[in-house]
């Protein structure tokens, strides 16, 4: 199991324990974390699972990848250097404890 904490813009924390190997978007959707829509189902094709990786974790998750992920983040709101699409973060055991912050709204 891997624990990941989603922090809403207002500060509310949703900590969920999920099987390793699924994406952070799946982890949020399966546990009804508000603010992660995942309209495209994980294809990096809608940018409705935009998150800011907590700076202490960005070294482990890595930055957004070239290709669709970066292309889609071009059009998201409030994009920062730590911005990722949660569907492109695979929750391996070395990400146990990961903290992801949600932007105010998905678009």
């Amino acid at each position: 199991m891997t624990r990941v904490s989603f922090v809403e813009a207002g500060g509310k924390i949703h900590a969920v324990d999920v099987e390793s190997g699924i994406s952070a978007m799946e982890a949020a959707v399966r546990n009804n974390v508000p603010g992660i829509d995942g309209d495209c189902g994980g294809a990096a094709a809608c940018a409705t699972c935009h998150v800011h990786v907590d700076p202490s974790w960005i070294g482990k998750t890595g930055p957004a990848r070239e290709g669709m992920e970066k292309d889609m983040l071009e059009f998201a709101e409030d994009v920062q250097e730590t911005s990722r699409l949660a569907c492109q973060i695979k929750l391996t055991s070395d990400l146990d404890g990961l903290i992801l912050r949600l932007p105010e709204k998905q678009h």
Binding site: D37, G41, A45, D71, E77, E104, H107
Partner: protein, 421 residues
């Protein structure tokens, strides 16, 4: 045997290579679904050698459509290659000398697409939508309160067109009394002669030129304003990415926003009424639990699929579903078919307002060209249904709708209804 069943039989028996799902008659009669089903089962990436629009590929399954939509480096939207509609002539005004041609960010590839889209997107971003909500609700209430109860009327004109047009007038800060011009220009822009809207390419060009002049005047007024307004025209006139746009590109982007905000939501507003009429149990569910509006709205948009297709042009040889697509080939993503794909969506032919993950539908497209106004569209529909539930016990459909003859807009000209208090 009715015409419809005869046609449905034809869908099952006709030789595969004769199937042409671009035929607008199949769309107007709403029988194209049987052809799409056959293609999904037997030839999901299908080549049609002869059609009114020349040869083209049909992509009919959800995952293949997603693949095309997310590989914009191979599947181009560029106007110069034909743009985003199966009918090239809508891009170049019939190809006649003096025909009107226009270009806009939906029919561009990166990097120009990205720059122009970013100029427009703030107006439909979450922060701005929150500001628009009370205006939209006020107008929805006013329109609904003016409707006759117990008497027959045309829902399309009285509600769907009226509300979407008011919304557009607000976004453009367009002279409110002249707002129906927007409706007309939207219809003209998506129509070729013969569809009942315009008679000739000349007439179409003429009307779109008038549209261009009208907006040019608004641009001129606003470009010199000391305090730029927050409307779309002011945004385009003041943004570094768009302020030096050539006139045909300015017109192109305006038409994109007019059509994008008009022909689409309008038909989902009508489609929702029809869907609930045909599925009274779903309407009962909604009345019992109005919180279901949040999932009913994307389900309406999937069920209606207001734009049945988007077109791309391959810029390199590539493989898709075991077929070889050649550089230069016209590739049609049939969103209407993908939204009925039984391998991607559970019970896709049914209208189910409390589906799990109702937003996993193709009506907005995916990838970099995904509908920029999708949250605005959802908001308009949500408010409409909230206010309908607050006023009426039922919207009774009194007859078959009259559908438009188009493979690009899945729309209605009329829907006779009667409201019950």
């Amino acid at each position: 045997m009715t015409v419809a069943t005869f046609q449905a039989d034809a869908a099952d028996t006709m030789p595969l290579d004769k199937i042409d799902v671009s035929n607008p008659d199949l769309h107007q009669q709403d029988i194209v679904g049987a052809y799409f089903k056959r293609l999904r089962n037997e030839d999901p990436v299908h080549y049609c050698a002869e059609s009114a629009y020349g040869p083209y590929w049909s992509v009919t399954k959800y995952n293949d459509i997603m693949h095309v939509d997310t590989n914009h480096h191979i599947y181009s939207s560029e106007a110069g290659l034909g743009g985003i509609v199966i009918d090239d002539s809508l891009q170049n005004g019939g190809g006649e000398e003096g025909g009107i041609s226009f270009s806009n960010f939906i029919s561009m590839d990166p990097p120009r697409h990205d720059e122009q889209r970013k100029t427009v997107s703030p107006i439909v971003a979450p922060a701005n939508l929150a500001k628009l909500e009370s205006t939209i609700r006020e107008r929805v209430c006013r329109v609904l309160d003016s409707l006759p109860v117990g008497k027959e009327f045309n829902w399309v004109d009285a509600v769907s067109i009226e509300l979407t047009t008011q919304m557009l007038a607000t976004l453009f800060d367009f002279p409110f009394e002249e707002r129906r011009k927007l409706t007309r220009w939207s219809d003209v822009a998506t129509s070729a002669p013969g569809g009942g809207i315009v008679d000739t390419w000349e007439q179409r060009t003429q009307e779109l030129m008038e549209c261009g002049f009208y907006f040019q005047n608004l641009w001129n007024e606003r470009v010199n304003a000391k305090e730029p307004g927050s409307d779309l025209i002011s945004m385009l006139a003041h943004s570094p990415a768009t302020r030096n746009m050539p006139p045909e590109e300015f017109l192109g982007n305006l038409l994109l926003l007019i059509v994008g905000g008009n022909d689409t939501t309008r038909n989902s507003m009508t489609g929702g009424v029809l869907a609930f009429h045909k599925n009274p149990n779903e309407f009962a569910k909604l009345k019992a639990n109005p919180a279901l509006i949040d999932s009913a709205v994307p389900e309406i948009i999937r069920w209606q699929t207001p734009l049945p297709h988007m077109r791309r042009t391959a810029v390199a040889d590539t493989e898709l579903g075991g077929k070889t697509i050649r550089k230069g080939d016209k590739v049609i993503m049939w969103y209407l078919s993908g939204n009925r794909d039984e391998t991607a969506i559970d019970r896709p032919d049914e209208f189910i307002i409390d589906r799990a993950r109702p937003r996993q539908h193709l009506s907005f497209g995916f990838g970099i060209h995904r509908c920029v106004g999708n949250r605005l569209a959802e908001m308009q529909l949500r408010i409409l249904w909230e206010e309908i539930l607050a006023r009426f016990s039922r919207i009774e459909v009194l007859g078959e709708p009259q559908r438009v003859r188009s493979n690009f807009v899945r729309g209605y000209a009329t829907l006779p209804v009667r409201l019950h208090a």
